[in-house]
Subunit: 334 residues, 4 copies
């Protein structure tokens, strides 16, 4: 049983079905009926007028967002353990044309306003130093923790004060919303977020993520950048259809909640072994080499993380029955 | 009936089926069984060792290829009417970090060796002028014409002489091979091609094209550039599966031939109205405004091209019965 | 006697003297008294508030200007024979991060409004095509001809209508102003120019050109880009001092007029041989191979240009006595 | 008396004189006699065949070197306190087209092989993470300390083992060589350095630094990149002449030694207050706010550095008599 990554999970039946339904003749690129419906559907979800662009990866969504918010000669403040810094092979630098990521530490892979303030205090306001133009936060974070709407709003206020754009990497946005029980609006634009990478692939989608632009001036340039990056698929209806299927009946939220529930089963079993609070679908726990080997012998697969730590990721399709054996095996370790 | 674009056509049943079959748990990105099979399967097709990378668009394939062949301070020789110059919103400039496209004219959107030579003759060999590093040709061309293996080889020889890389934009490679009856090998690496954008989406695929690297040094850098560009989908098996399905039983070639056959029906009907020889699945014909309006009234949709010209594109899924009405309507115009 | 290039000429005594005077302790970069005086001095010259940045080359000035006016995904309309297209090794593409130069033809290397309009008419307003964001004109042009204030204003009006920025490459701005007898203001911002590369090096300077920003929003980003490009010399006072010396007593204008006068001597001698009207310090004339060889035998050096054409460039330091021998030798050819 | 920066110092008389001597007609750009002499003169100094390119700033030299050594998708290992990271407004990212600086800590702003090794150990060898392609060290360092030839060689060996290029930022190379008493060759290519930014401006020059390429493949691309960056001054002879004047009679070394001697005077006075060993022309010392204010009242100018620290920089032109008052004032503080 694999607890490696939510990317390994299969695609949700509703998404697959949507592909079949979209398999008719229509206009190329994003001129089709499905793509044209996105702005309205996401605007409804977010209770405000947004522009929604499908893109094939979260990396693309993140990089496009940062390119909209930060000029080539600027900087983006982010966590030292963020995906944009460590796992995207320099995509932010590519899309922004060389902006600098400015790294901040903080527990749970979260940025705290005072840590951002401290970084800002070290930057001389002259042309010799790269000046920050944006902040990027990840919700849920790399360590499966969430920012509350209030926490985001505190960062949003700081961003406004310093005239910085605010991006949210929401690869696991659904998991965060499911945990928090808040509205998508409260967690984003009402808290000052300008651009959101809204993830669907880890959550049951196949190949479509959404870049949500809460300010229309960023949407226009992003449309050109998307094409210029080779991200404008010629049969876009198959991406748009996935997103629409995920929005129908709030499937995205149900899937996020399902994955979270699986993680809670494991968290309960792990008890004191937990490295971070489990607030999404990732469980980081202390595990000795021998313990890890023992679990693997029983057929459970997962990543080693830091020395003496392991990461378990649950996904939308794992039932309690599928997860329970691992939970039991962990509980047995004591 | 739409004759706008082969991008508007639906996806082939075999491809859809392959998606369903791939809908199981596997490793993320390109670590899955399908993705890992690509090099071998394409190597077999091309009768030599190649590296094959799936990408979601032809624009991405083209831009990655050019980035591998040309440094930021170099130039790429291409036709004035090429897709990379006119229809990719500057993707080559983005991926190469600012290389210059050097435009050459020629009938049928084809580059002739002497036209390339003439351009080369105008470039001073000093640091003030951008120096060419690559040639890019399109086969079949923007105007539905083909380069024969001999024609490609003549350009390949010129490329070698001047130490230029050679890229082929094969968005309609299947159509070209189907028309020429040659092997894929003869039309590419045996003729000096270094990188091929092998198109599948216009030919019945959904969202996967192949970047074929005939020299391994270009594959390595392309793997990093693909990730960095946000093109490495996290569930890559759904792209690889499409490509494998298209290779099975040479579906790609059958689809290309089917689209070509439809174009021949139209070409025969068009007779003297043809602007270019019809050698793939595109038909350019002279059509007055009134004639075009008349055809549209009968329910046929297509693009106006230059003044007094129209473009008709046929696709893999159109039967003779579906095309005949348009052929007849054209024949009636006289 | 060399008529190759005004870059080959020595530096004006006033400029050399200014270097010696600046050879004292002062603040680094552009914090010194000389650099700080530039905005005011150029504002006076241009009769409006401008920002003036020293840079070491005209290529740098041009590229910085274009980067301010055009986003990476945009295009810059310019003449096919412009310096930015042919002689800067892709500097505009480097600084703009891959914008596309959109080439227009026209006699005397001048852009005419209707030729620009014709180009604009060919560009589809969709994300597949690079959209123009700026126009760049050269005054005096590559062929030694000038745009009048009215001609610039016509282009400026077109630029405003289409929301395009307007840049003037003024490598030989002094020569143009000297010929036209107009004010610098009339030839630039009053005619709609947003950014001017004001050349001094060809006109007696050593290593300092000025980038003039007529709109302050462009100045701010240019200050960062200048540093980021390694163009912010650490002892900037030596560049600023050159510019100030050239402005003193309108030395720049006197030098431009002197070079122009030399060219007129040659133009008169050349008569019907002239390829273009001589309106600055360049003379293009028809010259057979034998005639060219004959002149070279007499000790005159110059560039061959197109087949059967030669280019003669005069500079600020050449007296009538120095030029007359060549004028006489040309006149003798008949 | 200013102890702010060696950039504030005036230009050496020999350099000024060289400018006057170069003030004759010659070929433009780097085609003149002075520029052409550089390769040979620097090859002699370095006891091996090198290519030497003049550039107007150290930032430009550094950025060109990194662009030659590292592809856009790669990384450059450097010290957290290095100039390329903190003081060049992202020039490395601009010239490399978005490579990532990978920061390492270490005392005295020096990189130690084991610290580099530790960083390398954290990078997964997959396409998701930026892979390092080069190491950049600064000698003398930002804190006025030097790497010995043996220390450089240890890093050079590590670089070779991991197939990384090695760049040395030698803004104060002269100061380092003067302190070490070694040959320039021993401190560079014999220790594995591929590219050197050889600084002259802080050391008495006006506007010319040298980029030294120890491997010819890097020189070719750098020539194009220099032009493309707008760094190829049209009257290059005035830069080349400065460098030649500095090489004559080892003026560069004498100037470096002179500045070092001044720093030693201050170091002796500072005694236990020193934060770092004084091995070049910079002195970092502990100084309370009150003490700093006291010194400033006496007419000494300098930068505050970290909390409770100050930086004093001496330059080539300061005699013992000029420095002694400050040394005495510091000694008095006890």
């Amino acid at each position: 049983m694999r607890f490696f990554s939510d990317n390994a999970a299969p695609v949700c039946p509703q998404v697959l079905e949507a592909l079949t339904e979209a398999n008719v003749l229509d206009t190329a690129y994003d001129g089709d009926a499905w793509s044209k419906a996105l702005d309205a559907r996401f605007s409804e979800l977010f209770e405000t007028r947004v522009h929604a662009l499908w893109v094939p990866t979260g990396t693309a969504a993140n990089a496009l967002a940062l390119a909209a918010l930060c000029p080539p000669y600027g900087g983006v403040i982010c966590h030292r353990d963020s995906h944009i810094q460590n796992d995207e092979c320099g995509a932010p630098e590519f899309y922004t044309h060389g902006a600098k990521l400015m790294l901040v530490d903080g527990p749970q892979a979260k940025l705290a306003p005072d840590a951002i303030d401290a970084l800002l205090g070290t930057i001389r306001d002259d042309v010799h130093q790269v000046q920050p133009h944006a902040i990027s936060i990840t919700n849920a974070t790399e360590y499966g923790c969430v920012y509350t709407p209030e926490e985001v709003a505190a960062i949003g206020a700081l961003a406004r004060k310093h005239e910085l754009g605010l991006h949210m990497d929401g690869a696991r946005f659904a998991n965060a919303v499911a945990t928090l029980g808040c509205t998508p609006a409260d967690l984003t634009w009402r808290a000052g977020v300008d651009m959101l990478s809204f993830g669907f692939v880890k959550n049951g989608g196949m190949s479509a993520e959404a870049l949500i632009c809460f300010r229309s001036e960023f949407a226009t340039s992003s449309l050109y950048r998307r094409k210029r990056a080779g991200l404008l698929l010629s049969k876009g209806r198959y991406l748009a259809a996935q997103l629409l299927a995920m929005l129908d009946d709030d499937l995205w939220l149900a899937n996020g909640a399902a994955a979270n529930a699986g993680a809670q089963l494991l968290a309960t079993a792990a008890g004191d072994r937990l490295v971070y609070p489990v607030e999404a679908n990732e469980v980081f726990l202390r595990l000795s080499k021998e313990e890890a080997a023992g679990l693997r012998e029983q057929g459970f697969d997962f990543y080693d993380w830091a020395e003496g730590e392991a990461r378990l990721v649950t996904s939308w399709d794992q039932s309690e029955a599928e997860i329970k054996p691992l939970a039991d095996a962990i509980a047995v370790l004591g």
